[in-house]
Symmetry: C2
Subunit: 207 residues, 2 copies
Amino acid sequence: MSSPSPTPRTRPGGRTARIRTQVLDAVRAELAENGYDAVTVDAVAARAGVHRATVYRRWRDTGGLIADLFTAAGDIDWQPSDTGSLVGDLTALNQEIQDSLGEPNSIAVALIAVSFRSAEAADALRQLWADRYRQSEVVVRRAVERGELAPAVDARALLITATAPVYHRLVLLRLEPDPELPRRAAESAVAGESRRHRAVLSRRPGM
Amino acid sequence: MSSPSPTPRTRPGGRTARIRTQVLDAVRAELAENGYDAVTVDAVAARAGVHRATVYRRWRDTGGLIADLFTAAGDIDWQPSDTGSLVGDLTALNQEIQDSLGEPNSIAVALIAVSFRSAEAADALRQLWADRYRQSEVVVRRAVERGELAPAVDARALLITATAPVYHRLVLLRLEPDPELPRRAAESAVAGESRRHRAVLSRRPGM
């Protein structure tokens, strides 16, 4: 095993953070290349160039390694693009999802695959989805502020409807990415929401 | 192991068909209760009450058992409901999907989970999706005949958009079934398609 530290001195916490990066990179690589069963403390330590005892002490087992992978995925300081229109923002969001799911050895697909192997991973993924959809709600709030949507809109339901076709096509149907799908799915969700809004208005007495 | 045959005589092919039913029922039960790793020739033979040698000869290994499960799932003589309207038909389709995904130990969810474990299962599932979406296209053809949709509609894309939110919510997001989602997703997909159709018409010169 090579040394885990190429530089002799770093700020306090730097070495710990660096080891975590190396270990999680190794988990991602094992997962993507060899699948869940390959994510063992031994394989990950060897690949990361970190002592087995260090990995064992901090992550304990496969479950601990996978759980931390989800934690790291959730830590990313992400926010959706602001394009100036609801369809534009949802299209950009879908494009980002499509790019992430479509890349070789996609970590997003790997996390989804793992969620079918362990209840712990399924819980972690549920939390990650909840965080991402909550972070995406700003797209809907901006549209309400611009007057594109009624304030009563169910932001989460709209976001799920808008993004679902991209996940469905790439993750479950396992079809090739469709360059038109990000916009098409965004437009459908917005058209459905507008139609629902008009239906609600038309049912109100005196309107 | 109990006898595989409770009745002494059946028509030619009857015993073979019955053994297949018993074996595939056992595969489904192992898969749903104990997961992919539990689907071994020994476990399935014991559960089905069929001689191990019979299972080995006909299905060979876990891969063979799983592959036949997909074949059997595809053999079902299924067709979508005819409710008289496109939104009604798509809502009924979504309700059927939601019921199937939501039932305890859902075989549909089990097949999806298995597709993340084996490339062979992933191929079999891809074929199964293709068959189901092709069988569902009659819903779109009927809508075209009624004048609800333009003949140029992309039936597959419309069906994927309409059904994706139900799969996404239940299989990937692992949320509780939402009783309003089957209709909501159907209405969104149809609203999106109508909007697209109007946009195409408005771009044609002279219209």
